[in-house]
């Protein structure tokens, strides 16, 4: 679920090739995101789960699936071990 949310964002907003995300061992550094792009991607999760992900730059050296697992662990840590349904985003309403 979390992986799909992030993949959808990357394809729709960051122009990442969807085929690249199908590769099981794809690395975050191969997605063409700069540091700001990485932070924008994390906001997609942060906005829905109501907390700021810790130390974003650590993801730059991970595989994509490792990053998703690490983010999921953080979401669970903020929600008593659960992975709740993501809240509707408010980004559209706040970007004017």
């Amino acid at each position: 679920m979390l992986a799909d949310l992030i993949k959808h964002y990357l394809v729709a907003n960051a122009h990442v090739d969807p085929l690249r995300l199908e590769q099981p061992d794809v690395k975050v550094s191969e997605l063409g995101l700069d540091s700001l792009g990485l932070i924008e991607m994390l906001f997609e999760v942060e906005d829905r789960y109501g907390f700021q992900v810790d130390e974003p730059m650590r993801f730059q050296t991970m595989r994509f699936d490792e990053m998703v697992a690490a983010i999921e662990a953080e979401v669970r840590a903020h929600h008593g071990g659960e992975l709740p349904e993501p809240a509707a985003t408010e980004t559209a309403a706040t970007s004017g």
Partner: protein, 419 residues
């Protein structure tokens, strides 16, 4: 000294989504002023505004998230750049071309929405409170005043100076004047000048309302609520939008075969060095005289003046007296209008929009009226072109005044180019 030509014009204003629509509506006195939306009124009765078209409809989706003022700036810039490119060979790029922007309250829409969301979540359901502090990571680069210049420079590859002036109502007149100087003195060959503003937000409307300078609604005819130089005037209406001009040295424009709309011939800037909001005649006179002197023109050689004309009690009288002092015996033959009567006050974008309109007056020989001016204030003794446009006028030079809160005054003079 290099003459500086205006080779590109663009605008998205309450009057229309491009410069031609805007000028046509100004000539027709077709007011864009209307009752403010419920959201923007913030619970205040009788609020007015002059909104422009949604700029996102005219832009690539890549700009969907940037501040509304930046979106307006990019729309006006693309019209001016297309216009500048249409006559001659390829547009200039690189270090010899700058981007000069004027904006009053950059990022107002982003900032207002951020605070609204923050406090709404804090005051809302407990489950959601922790979400209040999670805001978009681009909030700062979206709301910074120089965002419009940064994105426009990047879009067109303008690697010369990219500077933003924030001087309230004179912002973009000063941006144009400073660009004129940079080209005239050889620091640049060309510059894209943009004025932009978008603050028809609840937070900004309550603040402007508190200053007691906003027009009261004319219940019978809300569109006629802003009446510069009229005895019954009661203030201005906030507008939004952007305008852009492309400036280049005559030498540079000739070399690439570009056509000139006009020569931007003179710029004057001064400070009242006095009251925060009450204008002073001496400061306005100084700015107008400096602009005429730089252009090498006598007052009698200017036929049209787009006035600052905000329809405030004090402002219109002081400006009239300042014009009378500068123009002396020639004041009687000068046609003056305040187009704010129909497009509202665009604050940071006002100077650029009114320069675009004044340049179109120069080119067309048609003068937009001061709309809704039925009863001239006896203390305002000049020709304000009341109610109806004049066509077929012979116009060799025009002037545009922009006088800011804070006492900064700017005046621009443009004239016909003798190729």
């Amino acid at each position: 000294m290099n003459p500086v030509w205006i080779t590109g014009l663009g605008a998205i204003s309450p009057l229309g989504a491009d410069r031609h629509a805007s000028f046509a509506a100004a000539l027709a006195a077709d007011s864009a002023i209307r009752p403010a939306s419920k959201h923007a009124s913030a619970g205040l009765p009788g609020m007015l505004q002059a909104p422009a078209a949604d700029p996102r409809l005219l832009l690539d989706s890549a700009y969907a998230g940037v501040d509304r003022a930046t979106q307006f700036a990019l729309v006006a810039a693309q019209e001016a750049m297309t216009d500048a490119a249409s006559g001659g060979s390829e547009l200039p790029q690189g270090e010899r071309c700058g981007c000069y922007v004027g904006i009053g309250f950059g990022g107002a829409t982003t900032l207002d929405a951020m605070y609204a969301r923050y406090f709404a979540l804090l005051a809302g359901a407990e489950d959601n409170r922790r979400r209040a502090a999670v805001v978009h990571p681009l909030s700062v680069p979206r709301m910074m005043s120089n965002a419009a210049g940064a994105l426009a420079a990047a879009r067109y590859g303008l690697r010369g100076a990219c500077n933003t002036w924030s001087v309230a109502c004179a912002s973009s007149a000063i941006a144009a004047g400073e660009a004129l100087r940079a080209i005239r003195h050889g620091y640049l060959d060309a510059a894209l000048v943009i004025g932009a503003e978008a603050m028809l937000t609840p937070g900004s409307m309550v603040a402007w309302n508190a200053l007691r300078v906003m027009a009261r609604m004319d219940d019978a005819e809300p569109a006629a609520s802003c009446r510069p130089f009229d005895r019954r005037r009661c203030g201005f209406v906030l507008g939004e939008g952007a305008a852009a001009v492309f400036l280049e040295s005559a030498e540079h424009a000739r070399a690439r075969g570009a056509q000139a709309h006009a020569e931007l011939a003179g710029y004057g800037a001064s400070s009242d060095a006095g009251h925060l909001t009450i204008p002073a005649q001496a400061g306005q006179v100084a700015a107008m005289r400096a602009a005429l002197a730089e252009a090498g023109l006598e007052p009698a050689q200017v036929q049209y003046l787009n006035a600052h004309g905000t329809a405030t009690e004090v402002g219109d009288v002081v400006e009239s007296q300042a014009i009378a002092e500068v123009f002396g015996p020639a004041a009687g033959a000068l046609a003056i209008s305040s187009t704010k009567s129909v497009h509202g006050h665009l604050i940071g974008a006002a100077g650029a929009l009114e320069l675009v309109l004044a340049t179109m007056v120069l080119e067309s020989g048609s003068i937009p009226p001061t709309a809704h001016l039925r009863e001239v204030d006896p203390r305002c003794t000049l020709d304000y072109v009341p109610l109806h446009a004049r066509h077929g006028c012979s116009i060799a030079a025009v002037m545009s005044n922009s006088f800011a809160f804070g006492g900064s005054n700017a005046c621009l003079v443009a004239r016909r180019v003798g190729h």
